[in-house]
Symmetry: C2
Subunit: 340 residues, 2 copies
DNA sequence: CTGAAAGCGCTTACAG
DNA sequence: CTGAAAGCGCTTACAG
């Protein structure tokens, strides 16, 4: 009952060649039923675990994809938004025989260093999760490894990406707010370089014009890093006459934080201020009132992401793919017509 | 500027042997400064990425550790508690040159199948995160791969584990509650097989006796799967005279959910009911009132976990390690003396 | 300081 | 259906 560590030992016990063992183990079909059964029996009895290095060396692939986070590992893990994406991403990769390797690279500490699993050649491709800055992505891209941007992207870089249609989402929100009677709307996002924030802003601006709102009364507040700074700017805005009656936050986290700030200052939601978020995170149903938001098909995003990078690994030279998943508004309690 | 894929090519360009290239790349010091520089220059220019399969095959190790979740991948990712643990776990493994591979194995679907990365021999060891049932762990353990139980464990199984001292935590809570004047306390945990829940219950029971409380007035409610069922049982309990005035939930998530249920039924926290959680999750400060809970050194847990499994990989035959991290009570707003 | 050679475990094209 | 052999890229003990 001793552990067996190579097909050579199996071959000896089964009285055949290692080629036959390999064929049997890989279901190549060119093995007689008798020997096949014998081989499997031996493997089971001796708890044989194949050596993936041998296989990978020969087949010139790792069957592993690296997962990188921006700005850091924990920033993603503590973000419920990604849980569903990760789940279907993982399941799909798994179904194709691939595993996922985590990168702990903290870009805020070390913006230029490529991740270790890449320097060591452990992965066949890399999936990017989070709002990576352009520089980081193009550095990574220049290494020639298959790359996929998930839930985000960078303009003008031929990197595969799967995201939600944030442009349309903003349009839908503004359209809905206008129907409710709002004419003055503010869009807010942190100042990090982030295509999602920009795309959503662009959709917002376009809709503002389309619906004949006054752009000066519908500002974008993006030049802040901490939410508290953003809220300062919002307060300045609200102190004016003709201030906004509705607020769109770039994601639920920001929207929820701002809602709490407003409520602390005695501003009621939705009576005094309508608030919309993005992502439909679990956060957004925990608040009082529950947050209206944009639903993104997270499961589908993970699935398509996996398929996209797998395709890229198989065929590195095809033109690049850019997928926008449709979105849907979720109406809850943080919206109301504006007060007169 | 073409990509180079092996040290053979580097050797040719640098006019030396592959042994010298290998030594240079691994900082073995047995290489003249001149050649060394030449080799590094070539690697840089041609974007050389070593082939980890070749290295791993030769060195008989993967420098990869698998991470398994119970019951499933997404159950962990959507649980903020693990974010901090994962962060320091990742950082420590990374510092030792190890990477972490995710397992998508869903034990609820497939309770007996070992994870694919293990069947394929991709990992040097496995870290278990979550309340794995005994059977699953002993199955895994029987494969002989280094194993580490993190944040949880299974009784009577010689598997390394790093957990928090839940026994002492319960003792501390009860002691504190008694000081506040409580004499009737209820402990609640889901019915899943879970050593943490059992250890915390044991500490609770011991403290109940130690402080001379009436065990019949200090029940454990553990026979429920859904929180709503647990709350049903709690309601029955509270309907009695001499009902509990304080509640200990096995973790913050349960404590928060129960708090919301109670509040929905008009029971005030902490005036009518004192509530304690476990873990000090971010959840626990988001509620009204903020939850009193037990702080666990998540960063240290990840760090020690990494070091423990690394040690085990290095030396598979030493006696097994069991580490209990000390805990600390966090007093917030969900506690008060009982009403008379 | 440097190189030739062996060998890690595996898959695969080829011959029989 | 089966096997002998080559070779994937690397590290390391050994000889010089």
């Amino acid at each position: 009952m001793q552990r067996i560590t190579s097909i050579k030992e199996i071959a000896k016990l089964a009285n055949c060649s290692i080629a036959t063992v390999s064929n049997a183990l890989n279901n190549k079909g060119r093995v007689s039923q008798e020997i096949r059964e014998k081989i499997f029996e031996i493997c089971k009895q001796h708890g044989y675990l194949p050596n993936s290095a041998g296989r990978n060396l020969r087949r010139r692939q790792n069957e592993i994809v690296g997962l990188m986070f921006y700005p850091s590992c924990s920033a993603i893990f503590s973000n419920v938004f990604y849980a569903k994406i990760m789940e279907s991403l993982e399941a799909t990769m798994e179904a194709h025989g691939y595993d996922i390797l985590l990168s702990g690279t903290d870009f805020l500490k070390n913006p230029t260093e490529p991740p270790r699993f890449m320097r060591q050649g452990k992965v066949d491709g890399i999936i990017l999760l989070g709002g990576f800055p352009q520089k980081a992505v193009s550095d990574l891209h220049s290494f020639g490894l298959p790359l996929l941007f998930l839930d985000n992207h960078v303009e003008n870089l031929p990197v595969d990406n799967v995201t939600s249609d944030g442009f349309n989402a903003s349009e839908l929100i503004v359209e809905h707010l206008v129907k409710l009677g709002h004419r003055r709307i503010v869009y807010m996002a942190h100042s990090h370089e982030d295509a999602n924030a920009s795309v959503r802003e662009a959709g917002f601006l376009k809709a503002v014009i389309k619906h004949g709102l006054n752009p000066e009364e519908c500002p974008s507040l993006r030049d802040f890093y901490h939410t508290s700074d953003g809220y300062e700017r919002l307060r300045e805005l609200l102190a004016k006459s003709n201030a906004a009656t509705a607020l769109i936050g770039v994601n639920d986290t920001l929207a929820v934080e701002l809602m709490e700030c407003l409520q602390d200052d005695g501003i009621r939601v939705p009576e005094d201020m309508t608030i919309f978020g993005f992502n439909d995170d679990t956060d957004s149903v925990r608040t009082t009132p529950k947050l209206s938001t944009v639903r993104i098909e997270k499961g589908k995003m993970g699935l398509l992401g996996a398929e996209t990078i797998l395709k890229r690994i198989e065929d590195p030279d095809t033109g690049y793919t850019s997928i926008r998943l449709p979105v849907e508004l979720v109406h809850r309690e943080s919206e109301a017509p504006p007060r007169l």
